[in-house]
Homo-oligomer: 439 residues x 2
Amino acid sequence: MTGVPIKIGFIGFGTVACGALEILVSQETLLKRRLGRTLEITRIADREIKRERGVSVPKKILTTDPTEILKDPSIDIVVELIGGIDAAKTFVLQAIKAGKHVVTANKALLAIHGEEIFEAALRAGVDVGFEASVCGGIPIIRAIKEGLAAERIKSIYGIVNGTCNYILSKMLEEGGSFNDILAEAQALGFAEADPSLDVGGGDSAHKLAILSNLAFGTSVSLKEIYTEGIEKITPIDIRFAHEFGYRIKLLAITKFSGNEIEARVHPTMISEDTLLSKVDGVFNAVYVDGETLGPTLYYGQGAGSLPTGSAVVSDIVEIARNIMSGSSGRVPPASFVAGARKSRRIRPIAEIESLYYLRFTVRDEPGVLSKISGILGSYSISISSMIQQGRKIDGGVPLVMMSHMAKERDLQSALSEINRLNCISGETLLIRVEGEDAS
Amino acid sequence: MTGVPIKIGFIGFGTVACGALEILVSQETLLKRRLGRTLEITRIADREIKRERGVSVPKKILTTDPTEILKDPSIDIVVELIGGIDAAKTFVLQAIKAGKHVVTANKALLAIHGEEIFEAALRAGVDVGFEASVCGGIPIIRAIKEGLAAERIKSIYGIVNGTCNYILSKMLEEGGSFNDILAEAQALGFAEADPSLDVGGGDSAHKLAILSNLAFGTSVSLKEIYTEGIEKITPIDIRFAHEFGYRIKLLAITKFSGNEIEARVHPTMISEDTLLSKVDGVFNAVYVDGETLGPTLYYGQGAGSLPTGSAVVSDIVEIARNIMSGSSGRVPPASFVAGARKSRRIRPIAEIESLYYLRFTVRDEPGVLSKISGILGSYSISISSMIQQGRKIDGGVPLVMMSHMAKERDLQSALSEINRLNCISGETLLIRVEGEDAS
């Protein structure tokens, strides 16, 4: 094994950093056999460096001052794993400016400031690796940037948040309520103490912004991604979904159609016949539909110290290979070359078309169905199937309908009219359904 | 878009070549946006160049003489798609010797002569792309070489032959016999007129040799891969499998254990709870278990003109990126650097341990069970569950057992003793079962 070691500085010494460091230490021989060069952990910066993390790195390489990494001319690769936005952005841009390559798992940072970071990297001729930012160890970023390089991607459907998928899987399996299963997930460490970024869909939106950007060669602003969480899903919706042959998943969806891009995160019903619907528990999966390749699916653990650490180290290896062959920047960070990216209109949610599951909570009295279906009809929304269940819930009876393909704007207008009816006794739930219109 | 075009010569103008050419033509703009350079189809050689293929390439670039490509100094990349072994090997080695990069979909060639081709490429400093050789458009070669670069791979389980998976899926769905479903698959174009390479497992063994080589950094000879096809599977085995909670798939399996490698292709029972068991029809999927990443799975179309063509073009893009950044050879063709690969013993099938499904066909007479279980016991093989079914098939009654973990050698010895019993009236079927011992 020839050549000087590739020197790596870590900013952040938390869970993912420990996973990556453990792999660098324990797989040193394997990594040398694949790379032909030693990867050296040169420096680790964190605000807190006294706590024992169980990773065997020499004490003397720890520092509380990240500038010791950013200003060390010998360091080739800076691994940013502190999370958050502002400080992370500063460190990443400083590293790039200093001519260092960057690896980050920071999806929020890339979703918000990705354009600026990618442009800075292009200018400086350095690489930015971010495989760990989407779906942990699943190599989905590489798949889109390289494996599917020949593909005009039509759509992506991702289960990209393990917490949500765990909760929805358990609700199906055990029949428990959202709140009970969330509490259980928190006790088991599958959900954060403040779960809002996960269950509210925000984390999925971050990942979708990155995937959509790479797939379509366009900037997708986080603000333009319609985002809805799983908090309103109840066990009866999961049961009704099953009766219609569907499962409910929180999906991050992006599509290219009519020169516009759809980008949205919301609970979605998908057919029980699809492989994606069978991805359960904390696992993630991303389904990509390409024009000539057709569907491919990538599945694995989307979070956790070691799976995410593995993605960080795979980026380090890739960047090291580029350093060794003098080819930094060989693949553009955003998958398309500078100047070839295009600005696309992000279609507002009101303009999408979809199939819809609608659950009304109605008073058990005559004429209800005719009033509701009358309003739906007046907005040209037709119903493909219906379930009315006698049992009262919260003083009302659930009335469930599946629509044919309809326009979201029409549907929302119809719903706001329906929700004003006296016969509606509880909140109406809408779940978008992905699939072919059966009509 | 700057720079001279990357020039490509195709040797072979068959199904996959047409797929790749169609993508190069129809996606020209997209490819330029991703690559920043034009890909030029400079020459296409085939023995037969008069037949209309429906791909719009200028007539004047067609030739019957492959040396017009091999000797053209302007051609950067030679795409070998003629199939077969000897001529393909000659062309590939000549191309490499001439300093040209090579893309091939030829799994048989790589399974047999991969070492020689990879070494020649390393010496010449050129790239060999072979994503299309395993599972068509699924980017599994890249996943192993780059996405999982940090992973000590423990095992790979692949559904890598669409014909077999189609037949087994249909046998489950429709209850038909192997021969009937095979005939149906042939009529639909999902099986070759001579299906032996597919249904006999040979094609899967070719792909497994490639995957095992990349995953473990060792040469795996095709001769050492135990290979068994799906011809003996009957509808009752598929039904019994379901009763035990399993599905039967033709799996290509490779494992690293005790510094040895297992590499085998055979019908395998896997739990109905696994995602791999739910991969149906002509689709392929590869499940990779990594030490720190845990399981990942890659799913898609493993064959066909466009999906395989997409993989060919993704390799062309990758090689073009290396040409443009002067980094040809940045990733070693066999995933490990020269000198870091190791010779490993391939464990003979007699030495593996597994769970087993055994279907005996017995005379309906007293004492049969005690004779069979007595012999199994004498070889330390214990049974975890059993189904005896009254209905006669071919003059015998099926007696089905699932074993606890047992040694293949012991099992084969017991079976040859059992098969000599008078009470055995038909052929005994053994199917290996992947999973945890339930004991």
